[in-house]
């Protein structure tokens, strides 16, 4: 019965994801994306990962999405863009991707089914940030370093790409500042 929140969150996430993919107005899609992220945070919580759920909300739904919002604002989209999106999303366009995605879904599901059923711990005792932190700065310290390199690279390249415009400088600053 404590499956219920999980299922609920799952359904919301899936539905919202579909909405993201099919919206013709960018802001709507963005908002649905936030919904996806929030419900995923719920799923994480249900799976016993509160720390991940918090990070999902703070960094993803908070910082990264704000980034998107800024960009959408700067793009200054209007009616013509909406029409164009509509035009781009003609029904015929969907056939190929749907087919491919469907195939992938079937293949993945088959793979899932082939997995042995879980026999591990019955209870999903939550794993707190302390455990994660010990692990992160213990054996995984190298990957932390790598992640920092990645972020540095992201910073540098975002700065380089957006050097000549006034907006990108701010963006890159935000992106790196979040983590």
């Amino acid at each position: 019965m404590s499956d219920l929140p999980f299922i609920l969150f799952s359904l919301v996430a899936a539905w919202a994801a579909i909405m993201v993919v099919t919206r013709d107005i960018a802001v709507h899609a963005l908002l649905y994306l936030v919904v996806v992220l929030l419900s995923l945070a719920g799923v994480f919580f249900a799976l016993g990962a509160p720390f991940a759920a918090m990070l999902e909300i703070i960094i993803y739904a908070g910082a990264v999405m704000v980034l998107f919002v800024f960009v959408v604002m700067m793009l200054n989209l209007g009616q013509t863009d909406r029409d164009r999106e509509r035009h781009w999303m003609a029904p015929g366009v969907w056939i190929g991707p749907t087919l491919l995605s469907g195939l992938l879904l079937i293949a993945l599901c088959l793979t899932l089914r082939a997995m042995p059923p879980t026999t591990g711990s019955d209870t999903l005792a939550p794993i707190g940030p302390q455990t994660v932190g010990i692990l992160l700065y213990g054996p995984y310290v190298l990957s932390v370093e790598l992640a920092s390199f990645l972020l540095l690279a992201g910073l540098v390249s975002a700065f380089h790409i957006g050097r000549d415009t006034r907006a990108t400088g701010v963006n890159s600053g935000t992106a790196t500042g979040d983590v």
């Binding site: 491919l100 992938l104 293949a107 793979t111």
Partner: protein, 616 residues
Amino acid sequence: MDALLLPLIVACPLLAAGLLFMSAGRMPPLPTCVIGAGSVGLSALMAAMLATGFLRTPPPAGALHATLWSWMQVEGFNTRIAFTLDPLSLVMMLVVTGVGFLIQLYAYGYMHDDPGIARFFGCMTLFVAAMLVLVFSSDLLSLYIGWEGVGICSYLLIGFWHTDTANVAAARKAFIVTRIGDAALLCGLLLLATRAGTLDIPALLHIAATRPADLSAETAAFLLLGGAVAKSAQVPLQTWLPDAMAGPTPVSALIHAATMVTAGVYLIARLHPLFASVPAAMTAVTIIGLVTLLLAAGSALVQTDIKRILAYSTMSQIGYMFLALGAGAWQAAIFHLVTHAFFKALLFMAAGAIILRVHHRQDIYQMGGLARAMPGVFVAFLAGAAALAGLPLLTAGFYSKEMILQGAWHAAPLLWAGALLGAFATAIYIFRCLFIVFFGTRHTEPHGRTGATMAMPLACLAVLALTGGWMEMPDAIAPVHLLSHLLSPLFGAPMPEGPTWLLWAGSLVPLAGVGVAWLLWRPRIQTRAPPEDALARLARAGWDFDTLYDVLIIHPFVTLGRLNQTDICDRLSNATAATARAGGRMLGRMQSGQVRRYAGWIAAGTVVALCLGARP
């Protein structure tokens, strides 16, 4: 001394030919001719010396040998360049050098104003050298050198006037058709060499005489026969000879009448024990001879070109020789070879003299009435025609043909009847030609004179054509057997003579033929046009063997070759290249730079990888 003379006889014209080719046409005509004819004359002189020596004191083993050098010496096979002079090659040597010299002399008169005279004499002397190699060789492989050598000289000389494409084509045809026979001959040599380990003629003949004929001997005999048939223009490889008349007339006289075309006869006579041991081959020789003799005579009856008449006549006469060979009358064949060399060379040279004086026209219907304008040539032609027809008692052709008829009678009376029919046709066609050319109204005014260098050989050969037969006579006339006696160590005793009425038949039939010719083409009632019915056309075209071969062999071969000009194998490798290129282009099209496509490919790859991974 004598053995040394043997290679010298060959070397003399060979050196002269080398000299003439080296001069590259910078020498004036007279020295050219002196070198050319002189060398052959010198050869003839040496040949005569050799012959007198040979006849006066025959060498111990009946033959002179001169081994020059070892040609090829490898494991299991050994061949030498070696010459032998025995009675058969003695006769041939005398014919080749003697007639060759006369024709060279004549050729100076015929060709002296041609710019390519050095090339002409070079090829002619080279031909004489090659023919002598053919005649002298005591090893079949060195005989093959001469055999092919005369072929290539024939090619060069038929195509002597090479600016005319037709001449070039005729030359090529002559060489290729004979080359087919040569390939058969070569196969025969391979077979013999494999069987015996040597191509030395005495050794081969010894084997043929001692070992019973097996399959390989039979095959070898037939393969050699193939070579002889092509060289001597017998059915079914006879088609090149009429076209070969495109060459200058001295060439036709020397190569396509007197010497080269009789090489096949010589080959069979030289290897007669081998053939005699294979009855099937002998029958084949007989049949080929008879068929050629009749077909060619039929063609000669309706030709309009004087040289083609003579060409078909040559085929027909060599048919006689083959008939004699097949019947086992070896002496008769060689005898006819000799007399034929005389009278046919004479006829060609007389024809050449006529052609030269009627503006290079060769159609007999455009000549006519020439007897008065050129009496000397007329007499020479008459002598040649009489000898060819075999008019009794007086002419050489009579005696040799008579001998062949006797031989045929002994083999089978049917052959005799066929040969007699041939003799009848021979008399008709040659006298038809004579009547049309020399009698009746004149259609072309002759010009100039026949020069001394041309007249002298004509006279010599005319005498020979009449008297050359007296060395061998039937017992019923006079018991003279010079040639048979000379050749009998080689061929054994000559055949016994048949009943006397054969002689009567053989004498009267040619006369009847002349009579028929007179009835049909005597000056009064001469028609001015050749017969034009279907049979005549067929016969004039040489019974359409050419068309047959063209449709059956040459055309498909060439067409297929043309179709495959770009090489189907190449197409294959090109297809590989094209596939690779198309594949590359397709892969290249995948690199379109469109992100979504890349994503799609990644997704598809993932699906495939998952499916593959999930399977086991």
